[in-house]
């Protein structure tokens, strides 16, 4: 048992002695490194380590929680006293509490979340990777005249969790990333875009040259953007944008939105809510991926859950509390940081790929909009109303043509789901993933 897990177990024991009828403690520690370079020079270099712990106590059906970065004996005693103090001011909630003992557990198998090749990389080599990415971008095209920098960052840490039902578990994880943000200019107008690659270890990263080249290609193709005219037209999301669409769907199927009746998908279990080509999975057990962990933040084993199968909504994603509210069983999706109670989170949450290539999807559109970036937060999961700022390329006669920016796209999640066609290019670059997506006709707001 690591020192960190030992601390988590001690805190749970201290809480029981202080009168808690249930307790759970999360402890995290980690080391961060990041270097940002710009125009071939190091701009910032940050290196540090930190630890923190969070506690939730139950006193009967009353809940209190606390956190601290002070892991000394004295600090832990205060942590427990703080949580107990708050349990006295909350309301009795018959459904609050730790998971049912039979739900506790851990995924058996190596998730390969830690790689030791990052620490073998000297700081100078990390700096060099960022420099290579930026150099590639700057040399890619004469119109790339500036840079908002490139960076390498990494993390290694341990996460430990224990509760008063005898669950104790911990895992190590690591992370590294290269990113690049070139700036291009044409006339008086500037554009920027970015590309990044992240992985558990250096060996799985895209090369700095590839990151720099893709970032540069994406930036240059935005130059000369015009505002489209206001019209209804078919819309295709490139994978990076499709990922954020998947993220929006998560908000609509997580248990809290369901039991609060604030999601347009409440009450739709067993119903067809999307095109038959739509299959949406949450899987916390995929080796090396960023949405993977052996147990959730209540000590329940993670798993693979089919949320939408061929267009039919099969389940919601739940933590213990949401499951009790809905008369269902936890799906191992409890998620919390150091502070507060567990909410509902996701593992690797993704739309399964379809049959056609992205090129085929684009070829099928005579006049439409291929979206490469969305900004703003206009997704309403209660009504399904969707309205966001968009940038991309116009599709004419099945081909990507000129760049378009400063427009909006609007419609509803219901219609987008009904028309959804995923392409065959699924890649896992973050814990949300989706292939290129055809989302049907939307209203484009422009000039």
């Amino acid at each position: 048992m690591s020192e960190l897990l030992d601390i988590a177990c001690q805190v749970v024991e201290l809480a029981r002695k202080a009168g808690a009828t249930g307790a759970e403690c999360t402890c995290s520690e980690g080391e961060n490194f990041s270097v940002d370079i710009r125009l071939n020079e190091v701009e910032t270099l940050t290196q540090s380590a930190s630890r923190a712990t969070g506690l939730r106590v139950m006193v009967g059906q009353f809940t209190g929680s606390s956190y601290t970065s002070d892991l000394t004996r004295d600090g832990l005693a205060k942590l427990v006293a703080s949580a107990m103090e708050l349990a006295a001011v909350t309301t009795e909630d018959p459904l609050a509490g730790l998971p049912d003992p039979q739900d506790l557990g851990s995924f058996q198998g190596d998730l390969d979340l830690f790689s030791d090749d990052i620490e073998r990389l000297a700081p100078q080599e990390r700096i060099e990777m960022a420099l290579r990415a930026e150099r590639t971008a700057l040399e890619f095209d004469a119109r790339i005249t500036n840079s908002d920098g490139a960076g390498f960052s990494s993390f290694r840490g341990v996460h430990a969790f224990a509760n008063s039902l005898q669950f104790a578990g911990e895992y190590r994880s690591s992370y590294c990333s290269i990113s690049c943000v070139p700036v291009a200019k044409q006339g008086e107008k500037m554009e920027r875009d970015y590309w990044s690659s992240s992985a558990r270890g250096v060996a799985q990263l895209e090369s700095p040259e590839q990151v720099g080249r893709i970032a540069a290609e994406r930036t240059v193709r935005r130059l000369g953007a015009v505002k489209a005219t206001t019209q209804k037209a078919p819309v295709i999301f490139e994978p990076r944008v499709a990922r954020s669409f998947a993220g929006g769907l998560f908000d609509a199927i997580e248990g809290r939105a369901i039991y609060r009746d604030s999601s347009f998908l409440n009450g739709k279990l067993g119903q067809k809510i999307a095109s038959s080509r739509t299959t949406l999975i949450d899987d916390g057990t995929m080796p090396r991926l960023f949405g993977s962990q052996p147990f959730d933040d209540e000590g329940v084993a993670t798993r693979r859950t089919v949320v939408i199968r061929n267009g039919v909504l099969e389940t919601y994603l739940l933590n213990t509390y949401a499951a009790r509210k809905l008369g269902m069983r936890t799906t191992g999706n409890a998620s919390r940081g150091i502070t507060g109670n567990a909410g509902v989170g996701h593992g690797n949450f993704y739309l399964e790929p379809g049959e056609r290539s992205p090129e085929d999807l684009i070829r099928s559109v005579a006049n439409g909009f291929y979206v490469t970036e969305l900004i703003g937060s206009g997704v309403n999961i209660s009504t399904g109303d969707y309205s966001r700022g968009a940038t991309g390329l116009w599709i004419e006669n099945g081909k990507l043509t000129y760049p378009v920016s400063e427009v909006t796209i609007a419609g509803t999640l219901q219609e987008m789901l009904a028309n959804l066609e995923p392409a065959n290019d699924l890649e896992f670059r973050s814990s949300f993933a989706a292939p290129t997506l055809f989302v049907g006709e939307m209203t484009i707001g422009g000039k």
Binding site: E43, S48, S50, A52, S66, S69, D93, T230, E406, G445
Partner: protein, 476 residues
């Protein structure tokens, strides 16, 4: 109060000579500048949902960040342990950015000027929990009582008390006690089995708990959230395409934050990556527009006695009668650009490097009567409230989402419309401002600004403003 009576000196026994020693260590490799940022942060959050106080959390974080600047390079390290060995070690790590013999032998520290923009005697974080829990209970009852179509209410109360101490190799020594409290209410309403509609409201500032008892009560915020949710029940589709847009006073000032504020942060301009780069002295807005960033307004959420680099905040004119006047500076950018600091160096916590950031950003009042502004529009959109916004500072394109808006038909507000995103371009959008109202209002104190992964509290404000052309992202 003198340094020896300050929080870190009294509680952790930190002395002036300790700070001088840490700074010397940080500069031992030849850096040009170093600073130390000590932070103690106590927070509390209480949440009510479905009538049940389900969550209550409190906690403490403590740490110190050490920064070294050498030319344009920054080295940074932090420690959550205030022992001298750990701070010296962080200083050595940050020092590695520089290469060479120490240029600065010793820095005598002088107490910076002091003032108190938030004279809160008892910080909300030091009050009885029962009093704070009562606020969310009152909010939840009032929102439900507002209208029987309100079926779900969630309210949260959050406060914090932050103590900071800044010491720099320029000799600045300053410290501050920064209280903050905020109450938020979200209401969901529904009629005839239709889709739920949402309303939000909230507010607070660097205030004491009496603010919520005497000035802006839980009932005030609750009724506002419930009202917004109920209004949306009859909303029609928003228009699509270019339209005349009238912004109501207060929170719609988030437009300024996105359209011009971020683009005027000095780091982007020093690097030449902002759409506003090199435009000082140029016309970037209609002559009716004067936009300021003011960190000195008493008790406001975005205000600070000193910024996170130890400089006093001030009132900075960004745009004067449509002409771009200045940027928001932090120490690094002001050193490199040869400008004076403007008191805008801010950071989320000791784990973060300071950057130029906004404080309270707003447009000064004009002369038009707000009623007259609405009457002047034959067909357009009136935006009373906004959700969040976002900007791409390089192209200048920005968006924000209108959470409560109405059609203007023949000079009158008619039907409410559904939430829609509005989009524009920073250096262009404000050129279309044709009327500015005499009703400047600041927001109620809920703003959070994100930049490069760091979140900080800010304020915004605007009078009623008519913009002749802006793109609305509806479907009608």
């Amino acid at each position: 109060m003198t340094f020896s009576e300050s929080f870190f000196a009294a509680r952790f026994g930190i002395e002036r000579r300790d700070l001088e020693r840490y700074l010397s260590e940080a500069l031992s490799q030849g850096g040009d500048y170093a600073d130390l940022y000590f932070e103690y942060l106590a927070t509390c959050m209480i949440g009510i949902d479905e009538g049940i106080v389900k969550s209550a959390t409190q906690g403490v974080s403590l740490g110190v960040g050490v920064r070294v600047i050498s030319g344009e390079k920054t080295g940074y390290a932090y420690s959550d342990d205030l022992s001298p060995e750990k701070i010296l070690a962080a200083g050595r790590v940050a020092a590695c950015i520089a290469h060479g013999p120490s240029k600065i032998e010793k820095t005598p520290l002088h107490d910076g000027p002091r003032r108190n923009l938030y004279p809160v005697i008892t910080a909300p974080n030091d009050t009885a929990f029962a009093d704070r829990v009562d606020l969310v209970k009152r909010a939840e009852r009032a929102a439900r009582a507002y209208d029987n179509r309100v079926f779900q209410v969630q309210a949260s109360y959050a406060d914090s008390l932050r103590h900071v101490l800044v010491a720099t190799s320029d000799g600045v020594l300053n410290f501050d006690r920064q209280p903050m409290a905020r109450l938020n209410v979200q209401a969901l309403a529904r009629q005839n089995g239709g889709a739920p509609q949402t309303g939000y409201s909230g507010g607070g500032g660097r205030i004491d708990l009496d603010f919520f008892l005497n000035e802006k009560t839980p009932e005030h915020f609750a009724r506002e959230a419930a009202r917004q949710a109920v209004v949306q029940l009859d909303a029609v589709e928003a228009p699509a395409g270019e339209s005349v847009v009238v912004l109501g006073p207060g929170w719609p000032g988030v437009l300024l934050h996105e359209a011009v504020g971020h683009g005027l942060e000095a780091d982007f301009n020093r690097k030449g990556t902002s759409a506003f780069t090199g435009r000082i002295g140029q016309q970037v807005a209609s002559p009716l527009c004067t936009v300021v960033d003011d960190g000195t307004i008493g008790s406001r959420r975005g205000s600070l006695n000193v910024d996170d680099e130890g400089n006093q905040t001030q009132r900075n004119v960004l745009i004067e009668n449509g002409i771009l006047r200045g940027y928001l500076q932090d120490n690094l950018s002001s050193r490199l650009m040869g400008n004076a600091p403007t008191g805008n160096g801010r950071r989320e916590s000791y784990e973060h490097i300071p950057m130029p950031r906004m404080t309270n950003t707003f447009m000064l009042a004009g002369e038009s009567d707000p009623e007259e502004i609405i009457r002047s529009v034959p067909k357009g959109l009136y935006c009373a409230n906004f959700g969040g916004g976002q900007v791409d500072i390089t192209s200048g394109n920005f968006v924000f989402s209108a959470s409560e808006s109405y059609l203007i038909e023949d000079g009158k507000l008619t039907r409410p419309v559904k939430n829609a995103t509005l989009i524009g371009n920073g250096p262009e959008a404000l050129k279309y401002v044709s009327m500015v109202g005499n009703d400047l209002m600041l927001d109620e104190g809920v703003g959070v600004c994100g930049k490069q992964g760091q979140s900080i509290p800010v304020g915004v404000g605007i009078p009623t403003v008519r913009i002749d052309r802006m793109t609305v992202g509806g479907t009608a």
